[in-house]
């Protein structure tokens, strides 16, 4: 008899099953792969932000020892533009479109002009990495430098240099959501109004593993295998085959092995993997490329980069009456894979936050500039929405002369389950915003803090607290809905369960784990459902050769969408198992229960067969129901009926050093409600990491371009400041649990909460700390010591 797992694993912090290979150095990342006959690629990139290409001379480079081939864009005839997968156009009936999306070409190797520093113009392939890099330096490009524009507010301004013929004035699109007339009316009659400029600076994802790919074309079989740092290998395959290279999908296998973090940056189809795949087919040899970190800063899709004017209208007693938001979103030089969705449907739809705001209007202009393309970065649109709202809410509280906490409590949407219709299209699934808030205040001891702050201020110390009550949209997404909004893809997920004859189970999931721990959490679901030990469960992800078409991991969708697809297949396995068991037990399938790994006759527990006996019978069908197919393997695709909306309340306590401007985080508290939780340890870990990234945005990170030359000034890890261990505290975390009614496990999603909630909490805390100096708003992040020191000096001189 098969052993039976005694306890339910759902909800338990079991140790991760993937860790042994990582802690012993035996993870298998793309750059670890070595193949016979391997060649190595280096890209020749534009040193200019904007320049015409007059001529490319590859002769000297081609003579360099070890060089196998050099290709430029002109060699790639018949290869198409990298596609943009989100179409904001009126003719497609996409809601909110005020000006159609300008769909501009994004060639894998540009041959007319370079539009940002790092734009690739040629690939050099050699027998060794060293030879490729050396030879790339010998490629002579005759550039005609052009004026450039990198600054968001100037990109669509008068006199800005034009990037694309198809985008007059560098405007990519104009879009709106909400009720303009109702919002204007609310502002016209409101007694308290506040307006602030709020900048959400450009960030770089900085997954610790740089992007990499190995493309191997086998001319004996006509098959191309691409190993690539991808969060969604099927999406990579589809976009590359169908849109760019025009090669048959069934002859291409995309493998995303161990991937060292993604944070959004590894969702997209990039130039390099397309060019390496194309070149491998041409050369009939494997081609490997690994991004250096400096290349990563220039070419990985960047995140955020919004400049916003936000206005909040309030009653005298602090009731929110209206919210008006006007945002310019910098999309960079080209449209990355999902770029138009991020500052529109992933942003404007979240501006209702956790508050009952009766009137909202948001208008967004997407602009092109001579910068790296911007796309989804952890949170993608939702952090920008939360940031605007949570900053303007605290500014509103100051304008209404109310406590920032009191004002929020007064406006929370009351507890509900099932549906709350927002003013910005989306319908929330379930929420108890006050409960998370109250729990956070309890952990904080708010009254005590304010007393301490009062005492500290008397001593001249600058102590502050900032809050953030956030909402986000996860479990992305109902296919029909996103299709109606412009998505070129469905956003379901696949899950295949293969039961082996001896009762072990291999699960093939379209989700991809690059740190999320699916090999553990998904196995917890399987072991529980089938009543088998977790050791009998294997989770396979990241290989289009074995996994049904799947959409991958982003938008905190893996557990809620991918997990549900697996659960559906498990249910099918059990249903079929009941038929087999009924036959073995000489009962009717409707009389069979499945519990604790046993199929048993209802009311007669002694008449039972274990799961393993049923799986064996499925493959050795001697005593078997008439008409039932042998085998025990089921596939499901789950398409969610709605987004899920996690929420929570974060607080940050800071002290600002008056003399230096240095901000020190004394406490960071996070109460998150992500619905039901499979593995609390893993969820806590994701919350921690998310908070750190958000604190990084608030205090040190930022991609900065030189306004004159268009050079990226933060092009290495020496210049782009990532948060380090010594600037972060131990996080104080807790959860409330409001299961979602959207999916059967009640899971909302947890991957992005920390990044969404934390930047406004930190910023609000510093504003509060500096309040005694007369500071009531800070427009820009990050709050480097230098910036804070200047604010302190400015406040002093203003007095």
């Amino acid at each position: 008899m098969a052993t039976v797992a005694s306890d339910r694993l759902f909800g338990k912090s079991i140790k991760r099953r993937e860790d042994p290979r990582f802690i012993t150095g035996r993870g298998q990342y793309v750059d670890d792969l070595k193949l016979p006959g391997m060649t190595y690629a280096a890209f020749v990139r534009s040193p200019h932000a904007h320049a015409k290409i007059r001529k490319i001379d590859t002769a000297a480079a081609a003579r360099h020892p070890g060089v196998v081939a050099i290709y430029t864009g002109k060699d790639m005839a018949g290869v198409n533009s990298l596609p943009c997968g989100w179409d904001l156009r009126k003719e497609k009936n996409i809601p909110g479109v005020m000006q159609d999306l300008a769909i501009v070409p994004h060639m894998p190797l540009t041959s007319d002009a370079a539009r940002h520093v790092g734009d690739p113009v040629a690939i050099v392939i050699a027998d060794s990495h060293e030879a490729a890099v050396d030879a790339a330096e010998k490629v002579q490009v005759d550039w005609e430098p052009l004026p450039s524009v990198t600054i968001t507010e100037k990109a669509a301004g008068a006199g800005a240099p034009k990037l694309h013929d198809g985008a007059p004035g560098n405007v990519a699109f104009k879009w709106e959501i909400g009720d303009r007339a109702a919002t204007d009316a609310a502002f016209n009659s409101a007694p308290v109004k506040v307006k602030k400029r709020i900048v959400n600076q450009r960030l770089v994802a900085n997954a610790m593993e740089p992007r990499a790919c190995v493309a191997r074309y086998d001319d004996a079989t006509g098959e191309l295998t691409l190993w690539v740092t991808s969060q969604n290998p099927h999406v990579h395959r589809l976009l590359m085959c169908a849109f760019v290279l025009g090669i048959p999908e069934h002859k291409v296998r995309v493998i995303a092995p161990d991937v060292g973090g993604g944070f959004g940056s590894k969702i997209f189809l990039y130039n390099e993997e397309v060019v390496c795949s194309w070149a491998s087919r041409k050369l009939k040899r494997p081609v490997r490329w690994t991004s250096s970190r400096s290349e990563a800063y220039l070419t990985d899709a960047h995140g955020r980069d919004h400049v916003t004017d936000a206005e909040l209208a309030l009653s005298n007693d602090g009731k929110m009456l209206g919210l008006r938001v006007k945002t310019t979103a910098n999309l960079g030089a080209y449209l990355s894979t999902f770029a138009p969705a991020v500052p529109t449907f992933l942003y404007g739809t979240l501006l209702n936050g956790v508050y009952a705001i009766p009137a909202i209007h948001c208008e967004v202009t997407g602009v092109f500039s001579n910068t790296t393309a911007v796309d989804a970065y952890r949170g993608a649109g939702r952090p920008e929405a939360c940031y605007v709202l949570e900053r303007i809410v605290e500014a509103g509280a100051r304008a209404a002369k109310m406590d920032v906490g009191e004002l929020r409590k007064k406006n929370f949407i009351p507890k509900f389950s099932g549906a709350f219709q927002t003013q910005v299209a989306v319908v929330y699934d379930s929420g108890d915003y006050g409960a998370a808030w109250d729990r956070m205040l309890q952990m904080l001891d708010y009254k005590k803090f304010r007393a301490e702050q009062e005492a500290a201020r008397k001593q001249g110390r600058l102590l502050g607290i900032g809050f953030s009550a956030y909402i986000e949209a996860c479990s992305i997404a109902p296919s029909k809905l996103v299709g109606a909004l412009g998505a070129g893809a469905g956003l379901y997920e696949s899950g295949k369960v293969r039961v082996h004859p001896t009762g072990g189970v291999t699960v093939y999931t379209g989700s991809h784990s690059h740190g999320q721990g699916h090999e553990t959490t998904f196995a917890q679901i399987v072991a529980d459902k089938l009543g088998i030990p977790i050791e009998q469960v294997e989770i396979v992800h990241g290989d289009t050769g074995s996994i049904p078409f799947g959409m991958g991991t982003y938008g905190s969708r893996s557990a809620s969408v991918g997990g549900t697809a697996i659960l559906m297949s498990l249910n099918k396995v059990i249903e079929k198992g009941k038929k087999i068991a009924a036959h073995l037990l000489e009962a009717s399938p409707s009389d069979i229960d499945f519990t604790g790994g046993q199929f048993q006759v209802k009311g007669a527990p002694s008449k039972a067969v274990p799961f393993g006996a049923v799986s064996l019978t499925a493959y050795v069908p001697h005593k078997y129901p008439e008409g039932l197919e042998p085998g025990l393997e089921e596939t499901s695709f789950y398409d969610p009926s709605n987004f899920c909306f996690p929420f929570g309340a974060h607080a940050c306590v800071v002290e600002v050093e008056r003399e230096t401007g240095k901000v020190r985080i004394l406490r960071y508290l996070a109460v998150d409600d992500v619905g039901n939780v499979i593995n609390p340890m893993i969820v806590d870990g994701m919350v921690h990491g998310g908070i750190a990234q958000g604190v990084g945005q608030a205090l040190c990170e930022g991609a900065v371009y030189d306004g004159q030359s268009g050079q990226l000034l933060t092009g290495t890890m020496m210049d782009y400041a990532l948060p380090k261990a010594d600037m972060l505290p131990m996080y104080e975390t807790d959860r409330t649990v409001t299961p979602t009614p959207v999916n059967p496990m009640g899971i909302k999603g947890a991957g992005e909460t920390g990044t969404i909630a934390s930047p406004p909490a930190v910023m609000n805390a510093v504003v509060d700390a500096l309040a005694p100096l007369g500071v009531d708003h800070i427009e820009e992040m990050p709050l480097s010591a230098e910036r804070v020191w200047k604010i302190i000096q400015g406040a002093k001189s203003a007095r």
Partner: protein, 158 residues
């Protein structure tokens, strides 16, 4: 021109002829074939390539292979002995000190030297000592916990 190098890595002796400009990390990864040591940057910031060289935690992206001639090196692959995880490895597993796993080898070897120098480090000291290693997943919380766990479980020095 190539130069001969000879070194011991994880108790095994290696000798090759290498270009003088070859970095030690590329020697370890590409020539010797031990891919647990990672490259996360090109400016010696991230620490993913941290190894032990003659007992010192070293970022081997900043050392030429020829400079390591004669050295005794331990990489992440050499830390577990006879199938037994080192307490630091165990600590990272117990305390969920890793997510994507890419920075982990460097973190563990950095922690190795830290605990040799400071067997009972405070939280503050751990955070300060980790200044040369970047992690983008964990927010460091559980890495600190992992090192604290390891400190408690390290065998007493003879």
């Amino acid at each position: 021109m190539k130069l001969p190098v000879k070194m011991t890595i994880n108790g095994q002796s290696y000798s090759h002829e290498v270009e003088p400009r070859l970095l030690l990390v590329h020697y370890i990864r590409e020539v010797v074939g031990l891919t647990g040591t990672h490259v996360g940057c090109d400016t010696s910031q991230c620490g993913a390539c941290t190894i032990l060289m003659n007992g010192q935690a070293v970022k081997c992206c900043t050392v030429f292979a020829v400079q390591a001639d004669g050295a005794n090196i331990t990489t992440i692959e050499g830390l577990a002995k006879d199938g037994e995880l080192h307490p630091i490895q165990q600590g990272f597993w117990e305390k969920h000190g890793l997510q994507c796993g890419f920075c982990t080898p460097g973190m563990i070897l950095s922690a190795y030297q830290m605990l040799e120098r400071y067997p009972k480090p405070s939280e503050e000291l751990i955070r300060h000592q980790l200044e040369g290693n970047l992690c983008r997943c964990t927010g460091y919380h559980n890495i600190v916990k992992a090192i604290e766990w390891a400190a408690e479980h390290m065998p007493a020095k003879k």
